[in-house]
Symmetry: C2
Subunit: 295 residues, 2 copies
């Protein structure tokens, strides 16, 4: 049985410039490593504002190639701290082709790989189909020096198919870097239900697949005169659920934080032996999942 | 938009004979109808003991064909009450071929169809692979006079694939007749986590698919000298979750009960317009779901 390892979740808000955000993130990575983390994950698009609040052609200027300034800085931070870093960014593939991606950076400073967000949302304030081509790499598990990690991004978290496909590739933990929050006008009536749905669906992926889930959200309010559209209040609440869906650690709604949690392969093994869902899947009968609707 | 309709969940324990269980169920169906139910669901294998606690060749004597005594009695109850009845039973297809099934019975007393449990558990005290061939009819939604209902059975509830496939066939509500409970020796240490997992995974199906979920469990303790192996304490807790995963009604852990809840197609429509997961599924990228593990 592989040894346990420790993950670190950086719940943070961006600074006013990308350079300042990268410096802040590097500091948090170092702090998480000193506290014992082996694999550290940052929030979705952590180095920039959440520009998807509106459709702004100039916002494409925020995109970077891989490798580029953000992945280079995070690779340096990974190497300096001796950890794996999961670094989400706005990726520029080429003129007119942009994606919502993350890079996995190894403790030796090398690039271990890329995941590109497969499920792209689009609704008022989260206008991502304007910016991002859907992912073209499929679902991913990365073999890091500490253990196998799966990566998905935000809206992917609502799709049990994505969690299952990632789990079947051997992940011990699925990271969900996220940018989810409240429209101020909706918060009083729908806010708590929305946040509870978000927690519940991710806990359910832990239960259905017998693995750990780590949700890493942005925090703080963006908008009010800073450009990029209306105000959103990111609800923080980053958490880790164990293979029985129990929340083992959770951040608050408004403050930046660093969370740590152990990923124990023995717990995964024991959980799956007792509730052996992976034994009983009906792979002969799932053709309907390949349709959008109907027979 | 179709009109709302009302579902009734019968949380009950079996009587000492099948005939007495059928009489009791007919009374509960009548009571649910009088209270306003249009579609009434009974627990898994409601008319018999939960004989799967052990492997007993004589227990196959409890199986019946469809049509047979149980479906005939429940069809009469459906007609008398003017409701749809979802009636689970131990089905005998022929010598050596038995299944864990349910019949859907219309208010005119006709058989609307059959669903056969697709995912079959097997672990100590729930030794179902000994008794039941896995379902051969795939996933099902039935067009009843009141609205479209999906049906799955117990262990199916741990598989997001089953809920998704059923939802895509047009169900407004998925019924999960269930027989789940505690081993007395495990209850103190694991009992609350097990029950919470069971609630959470089913709430997640409501959220992921934007529909209602109705879990209909057995209740009471079976065992202690009545045959069929060791004691199990069925944990009741039957509930209905709305399309946002909120529990709108729930029964207790130890007592029989009748629950009622409205199924509102407008709520489904509104929920899915605001969180349009069915728009964004990546049906081009789910090939991995057709494998048990690995690439």
């Amino acid at each position: 049985m592989a040894a346990p390892f420790t993950i670190g979740l950086i719940q943070m808000a961006p600074e006013k410039t990308v350079a300042a955000s990268l410096e802040k993130a590097a500091g948090r990575i170092e702090a998480a490593a000193k506290a014992g983390a082996n694999v550290v994950c940052l929030p979705e698009l952590f180095a920039t504002p959440y520009f998807c609040r509106t459709q702004d052609h100039d916002a494409f200027n925020l995109a970077e190639p891989i490798p580029g300034p953000t992945t280079t800085a995070m690779a340096e931070a990974a190497k300096a701290a001796g950890v794996v870093v999961v670094a989400p960014l706005f990726e520029r593939r080429g003129p007119g082709c942009y994606q919502n991606s993350l890079a996995v950076l190894d403790p030796d400073g090398n690039h271990a790989g890329v995941y590109r967000k497969m499920h792209i949302p689009h609704d008022p304030g989260f206008e991502e189909k304007f910016y991002f081509a859907p992912g073209d790499l499929g679902f991913k598990t990365f073999q890091t020096p500490f253990g196998p990690i799966g990566t998905l991004i935000c809206w992917d978290q609502w799709f049990p198919e994505a969690a299952r496909a990632t789990a079947l590739l051997g992940a011990s933990v699925i990271f969900y870097p996220t940018a989810i929050g409240w429209h101020p006008s909706e918060k009083a009536e729908y806010g708590e239900t929305q946040r509870d749905c978000w927690i519940t669906i991710q806990r359910s992926h832990a239960i259905a697949n017998g693995l750990y889930v780590a949700a890493v959200n942005r925090v703080g309010t963006e908008g009010s005169g800073e450009g990029y559209g209306e105000t959103l209040e990111f609800w923080g609440s980053s958490f880790v659920a164990d293979p029985s869906g129990r929340i083992v650690v959770q951040a608050g709604i408004t403050a930046e934080d660093i969370l740590l949690a152990e990923i124990n392969p023995q717990t995964i093994e024991t959980t799956r032996r007792h509730w052996p869902f992976l034994r009983d899947r009906r792979i002969d009968a799932y053709a309907g999942l390949g349709k959008l609707y109907g027979e």
